[in-house]
């Protein structure tokens, strides 16, 4: 019943969607006057103090800033994982405040790919099963189709030989590549990565970025957070955050 045909989520269909955004000039991510206040007990901590941010479809954008400045919070608001205290969030043409948790989960499954800092693969699933998981949740195509799609995503990140290994049997770089393959599984319009290379050595990190770059070249919007100035340089747009406000927005 919920099984969506793979055809409707093919790259071609998505390109059309992206072009519609470009043609209409509508940003794919639009944050307006976002405020986020964390409350723990009586203490209130304002993590974001009025952030305005627009990202056009197909952009490759880095967010930089000191620790605790609110970078992860911005990403979590874009993905609907956190809700802002004030302001409006519009992503892929949806007003996220109108979606409940359940609808958000479904929406994320179809439109957003997330790469976490510590890989965060499911330890009880093999690499192949991990990549299939978002397709299972979205109930996209038949089991056979999902399996093929997951295998091709793993091939895309250069891991065709490790399909049946459990995360514990993979190196950190391999795990992160599986995480990227998983983020790409459902052909998301946006890939969001929070310090995707934070746990990797420099060479592996560079490799990882070339994969993200490839993804972006295929038309996917990529937003990532990094501490590393060299990795920030790879993006065409760098947004700087300090104390919960945007302090710089450089485009090249």
């Amino acid at each position: 019943m919920n099984t969506q045909s793979l055809a409707s989520a093919t790259p071609g269909a998505r390109l059309l969607e992206i072009e519609r955004h470009i043609i209409s000039g509508v940003p794919i991510i639009q944050l307006r006057e976002i405020e986020k206040v964390y409350r723990s007990g009586r203490v209130q901590y304002p993590a974001l103090r009025g952030v305005d941010l627009e990202v056009a479809p197909g952009e490759l954008m880095a967010i930089v800033g000191p620790s605790g400045s609110g970078k992860s919070t911005i990403l979590n608001i874009i993905t609907g994982i956190d809700r802002p205290t004030a302001g409006s969030v519009n992503v892929t043409g949806r007003d996220l405040s109108r979606l409940d948790e359940e609808a958000l989960a479904v929406w994320r499954g179809g439109h957003i790919g997330i790469v976490f800092q510590f890989f965060q693969l499911l330890p009880t699933l093999t690499a192949h099963e991990n990549v299939m998981l978002p397709l299972d949740f979205a109930r996209l195509g038949s089991v056979g189709e999902r399996s093929d799609r997951a295998a091709s995503r793993l091939a895309q990140v250069g891991l065709s030989g490790h399909l049946n290994q459990f995360p514990a049997e993979l190196s950190g770089g391999e795990q992160q590549r599986v995480a990227i393959a998983r983020a790409l599984a459902c052909d998301p319009s946006i890939v969001v990565a929070d310090e995707p290379t934070g746990n990797l050595d420099t060479d592996t990190a560079a490799e990882m970025f070339s994969v993200l770059g490839d993804v972006n070249r295929d038309g996917t919007t990529v937003v990532y957070v990094t501490h590393d100035p060299a990795l920030a340089e790879l993006a065409r747009r760098v947004v700087s955050i300090r104390d919960g406000s945007v302090t710089g927005d450089d485009r090249r």
């Binding site: 978002p134 459990f166 983020a183």
Partner: protein, 742 residues
Amino acid sequence: MEERVRSDAMHTARLAPNAADLTPAQLASLRSVDNVAALDTRTLARTEIRIEGRTEGVILVGVADFDNQTVNIVSRTSGTLPDGPNQLVTDSENARTGRFGGSAGDAVEVRTHTGGWRRFTISGSGGTVRYSSEVAQDAPVLYMANTDVQSVMNYPAPNSIDVVAANSSPEAVREMVTQLRSILAAELPNLAYWDVLEVWRAGTWPGSEDFGNFIVVFYVIAGIGLVSALILIFTTMNTMVREQIREIGMMKAIGGAPRSVAVGFLRTALLLGGIGTVAGIAIGIPLSNWLMAFMSDEFGGTHVGSRLSVLALALSIVVGLGGTAAASWPALRRAARITVREAIDDHGVVGTYGLRPLDRVVARIPVAARRSQLGVRNATRRTGRTIATALPIGLAVATMLAFGSVLITAVNEDLNTFDLEGGDIILWNRNPGLDAQAGALIESVPEVAFAHPMVYSSVELDGERYVWGLTATSTYDHDVIAGRWFTQEEADDADRVVVVGEALASKLSLEVGDTVSVETRRGPIDLDIVGIDGQLVNNAQGMFVPFETVLDYEGWTTGHYWVRTADPEPATVTTAAAGIQGVLENNGYEVASSLRYIDRDQNMAENRLIVTVVMAMGLPVVAIGMIGLVSAMTSNVLDRTREIGILRSIGARRRDLRAMFRAEGLAIAILGWLIGIPVGYGLARFILWVFERRFDAAFTFRFPLWTIAISLIITLTATLIVIRLPLRRVVRMSPGLALRYE
């Protein structure tokens, strides 16, 4: 119950003279015999009363003086004790068992020796341990003055001497009885005895054996409950230490000694154990009161309240606190041994999945849906926790299965016993006796299928007191396991042959070809054993002798009749009994009948009650299993908070998460169920073994497959219900918080 035996002054020994017409001086000389603490004479009789237009057998128990009773004291539960002639007390058990529902103020027609009826008034209800027990076993019991019993029955004098011995050791009692008999022989030269001597050892009472059997079962359930509870404490403490691993590390980093860390946890454990003990005692006292009342009704035929035993109280406190300390020991040791390094490295979730051979095996389990697959694999991540959770579930399943099996076995034997005895109605021999012509009259009643003569006599062989005299063509469905049944010729010749029950044979090492000497009321006779019977009549301790043989040695000419009706429905049986009564009375026979379905219903009702009690006892075991499951699943959920956040981030819906954790819970429950099957089988065998030894009986063990299937359904259903709690926790987690959870 022993309290009740004392307060009722239940007799230690009962002599059964045919007529003991004793003067006060003679009574005084009997009472002065060494070791006699109390002695009363009474008149016992069997006659009939009218119940709803039908005649039913009844036991009359005479009381010498209601105001001054010293042995088998009849106490009053409602109304008053008789204060004049033609009044009686109905035993409280009469109404409870449904044998006779009369109450204070009602009139009762009692059959007299002339065949007429005398009207008595019920003054109240009450009873005494020894005679109340006859109600469930046999017939309604009515208490009245000795003089009333004698005038109803035309008995010249009391026929029972009930004695309480000060010292109840077998030697002392034997010595006392010898002295009493010699005094009686000197005073009343013509005295004969109508029944054998009845002796109750200290600590026994009517039903005490059944009571003992039931107690064993209680111990077994209580033991299982205790083991489950200890496992639960063990897991809880382990979880607690695990969850605080970082704190423990920090404490040690800033100089906390391993000892003080362990002592801190011990204090927590003892606090929990103390709360549990107090709660347990609070629930236990009313529960034990209820159980005592129930069990004394069922097995003692009397109702007693229980008193709080200081010993039991002390024991429960020791077990509650000591058991808690012992069960938390492994966790305390672990807490003491955790190193700072270990604590800092801890990330809550095992990150090494896939490296153990078990993981590879589990990965091959074919599960269709991904979320169920995740659930099943997750169940194997914390092997220790999973096993510790599955074990109490297994014990709960085992308890269910074992009791199922024992009850099915017992109920089956019970039903068999009733069917074996082959009668829906028993017609008791009266005056004139039920001869062959009476048999023909009985069979002329339309509802009657057939009728067979039968006689029931009392002999003594190593404490067992019953003999069935059966015709060679009787409906008794014997199951000869050695030797043979007696033949028509032996029956015709009234040969002294016997077929003994299996349990009696094994108890006394009797074999086919042996000769046994049994004590009848007319002296000892020898019987040749020709066969051994495997049926469970009289707990397989019966003796079967040809009908004609019993008549011969008892000096009787006629026996009773077993009547089988066309169908066993109460309506048919009642109609048949009324029909038989009518046709026999029209032809000048006196008659009294017992309807077997009343006994059958009585037995079934007892079984149903036993089932209820067993369920009530087994429930805590099941509850502990389920609490363990909830707590383990809650720990699992907390452990995997981050993973839940990840799953939500990549599109998992609430129902996906629910399905995943449900699969995990079911996997653990199924593991428990698998453990429970062999354990339950062993437990059932053990309980039956205990029963067999205590009953001296052989049961046909039953462990039907369908009970295993039902236990699976129950386990899964219970799991699905209790797992809702942790599941609610899962779906309520906001993904943002879940991801930050550490």
